[in-house]
């Protein structure tokens, strides 16, 4: 319980820091703290696998991607750190209305959930057992039996993302090793010399 409130404070403060930070690098650091606190909350919800995935995928992969892009762009863009931060006038009422709508939806959902009968608690394996709720074995069994199709679609989504990124940001010219390129240049020069000699 203390853990939840401590992590909630960390989560909210780091989220505010991410949004208000002056430079994107600071935002990444705030996001790192956010994800770490979130992973701790996931563990407290006995979602072991998701907690580990949160650290590996988010902190390890996505944040590193952000850092690489910041490092890549900062060299060419002088004013990258201080972007203008205008707020359209419509944003305040829109955000307020959205918060009210979300709160309403959430509480309506809570009422709906309360009306559903509870599952029997007898079938629950104890926490810490090999097949306990949220353990890797439990998650993996669900992922590879009942929810196999979503898992396969996941692979497809990632493949589309990889191909899309290569198409968008990749260099369109085919890759040629340096030595081979040099040989091609030499060959062309030699041919040019021969051609000029004939004339």
């Amino acid at each position: 319980m203390i853990l939840f409130y401590a992590m909630a404070i960390v989560l909210i403060l780091s989220a505010i820091f991410v949004v208000t930070a002056a430079k994107p690098v600071y935002s990444v650091v705030g996001l790192l703290a956010h994800f770490a606190a979130l992973a701790i909350l996931y563990f407290s919800l006995s979602a072991e696998f998701l907690g580990v995935i949160q650290i590996i995928v988010y902190s390890g992969a996505i944040l590193m991607l952000f850092l690489f892009v910041i490092a890549l762009l900062s060299s060419g863009v002088a004013a990258f750190s201080e972007g203008p931060n205008r707020l359209p006038k419509i944003a305040y009422p829109a955000a307020g209305a959205l918060a009210v709508l979300l709160g309403f939806l959430v509480f309506a959902a809570g009422k709906f959930h309360a009306a559903v009968p509870a599952a029997s608690k007898a079938a629950v394996p104890p926490v810490g057992a090999a097949n306990a709720f949220g353990s890797v074995a439990d998650f993996g069994r669900a992922l590879f039996t009942v929810d196999l199709l979503p898992f396969e679609i996941t692979a497809f989504i990632l493949m589309v993302a990889v191909i899309g990124v290569i198409l968008l940001a990749g260099d369109a010219t085919p890759y040629v090793p340096v030595r081979k390129r040099q040989r091609i240049v030499d060959q062309e020069m030699r041919e040019a010399v021969i051609r000029e000699g004939r004339h």
């Binding site: 939840f4 994107p24 996001l31 998701l50 996505i62 991607l65 944003a91 979300l102 608690k121 993302a161």
Partner: protein, 107 residues
Amino acid sequence: MPHADLLPVAIGNYIGLSLVIFCIGIAGVLLRRNPLIMLMSIELMWNAANLLFLAFSRAWLNNAGHIFAFLVITVAAAEAAIGLAIVVIVFRNAQNVDVDEVALLKG
């Protein structure tokens, strides 16, 4: 609430926390004009949704929420990769980073 005693705190606390983080993310997307910070705010929103998935999953002792959270993480990773690729190609030769100046498709 089903299995309310299985959660560390009542489910309403998770709902409130998730709501607050989600609204901070919305504020980030609306307020900031730096594309990278906007993308990070979107990540905040993904994670707020994920937290709620896992909290309800725990409350119901049903790991469907875990599968959903797994899918959300995958889609978030794909979105981050493609979003960052777009940021790179749009701002590769720019002197200033402001998403309001990107209006090529505005018609």
